[in-house]
Symmetry: C2
Subunit: 210 residues, 2 copies
């Protein structure tokens, strides 16, 4: 391996993007960051983990804005007098963590606007995973264990949140092909076939012998 | 080869999508359709080729609407009394040609809303090729021979036309990742690397030994 390999994965809810990222990281033998990223961010910043958990991918959450400014239960993690909204501060902290991770070692990062945060990193490739409605709903029910009657609404709401978060913090639109180096419909080749394609892309880009 | 392989390619102007499609067709040893498609459509329908050339990817062209209804220079290719706009009729004829070609044999089809027209064809995969602005402008100048001062404006106008045409005739938005099975930034791996990725995708999908 000649250089660091950074792969960011954005994904529609139910497309299997997280599983694809995890398998890809395993097969390339590199680190994988998803929810864990939040914990690292929390540890590094000294901010209560719950605060990150709840604002993650959910910008303009006035409850948390209020909580942070009006209660001392988490302490005050930010310098006083600043008028940057709390979600934006959390985004900045999380962005710094993502940049540090990408400087340190090869990794796969799922979600968290990592595509935009690492846009100018020459070692990074940016992937978007999507699928058709039926395939996503099946996965949401059968793999994520969501009751059938809630699956579609949850899918729509989650993707809307992801798009809102991404579009608020980046200059490109979530899910628009030109914002990613590779966008794949995971329904055509399934999880393992999709991993194969990303591996092939990484292999040519990074001149790997796999 | 067990079944027909149909590959549609939509592309940003300057991304090298046509060249990628042509090389792909050569390497897979299957037919390639681009401008030629218009000729076939013209021949099959008995409509003057020039009419297709000018309305192609340019819907709501009132000059041609007027020409077709007000002059006898092309004859009258449509049944009298119909109130379907001429561009829509041409689109229907072109769609039928695309469907016939895809029924007949394996092929690569560039542009022409083929992704939407062949959406339900189980042997078809749908590709979108894009690239960054600098790479596209370089290609437009150096490979397409457009003067540097016109390159960017032509790029913007052409993509706008393509998007308008696609969005008018299909239910999905041009350039949105979820409308394609695979969307690739041709700047990362170049023309030959991008062809490799599509070949790999086709190989797994169609169970080919390449």
């Amino acid at each position: 391996m000649n250089s660091k390999i950074i792969i960011t994965i954005a994904r529609q809810f139910g497309s299997g993007g997280r599983e694809i990222g995890k398998n890809l990281a395993n097969e390339l033998n590199i680190a994988f960051y998803d929810k864990d990223l939040i914990k690292i961010a929390a540890e590094e910043s000294g901010i209560h983990e719950e605060l990150f958990e709840n604002v993650d991918e959910n910008h303009k959450n006035s409850f948390w804005d209020n909580m942070a400014y009006n209660t001392t239960s988490f302490g005050n993690p930010f310098s006083s007098g600043s008028d940057i909204p709390i979600n934006d501060k959390l985004f900045i902290i999380q962005s710094n963590v993502i940049k540090e991770l990408a400087e340190k070692d090869s990794c796969v990062i799922v979600g968290r606007c990592a595509d935009y945060i690492l846009k100018s990193n020459p070692n990074a490739i940016h992937i978007f995973i999507h699928s058709n409605k039926e395939d996503k709903i099946n996965r949401i029910i059968n793999s994520y264990g969501i009751p059938a009657e809630n699956a579609e609404v949850l899918m729509i709401k989650t993707d809307k949140k992801r798009a809102t978060y991404h579009n608020y913090y980046s200059s490109g639109k979530w899910g628009k092909a030109e914002n990613y180096n590779l966008a794949i419909d995971s329904n055509v080749l399934g999880i393992s076939g999709t991993v194969e394609i990303i591996k092939k892309f990484a292999q040519i880009k990074f001149n790997l012998s796999l």
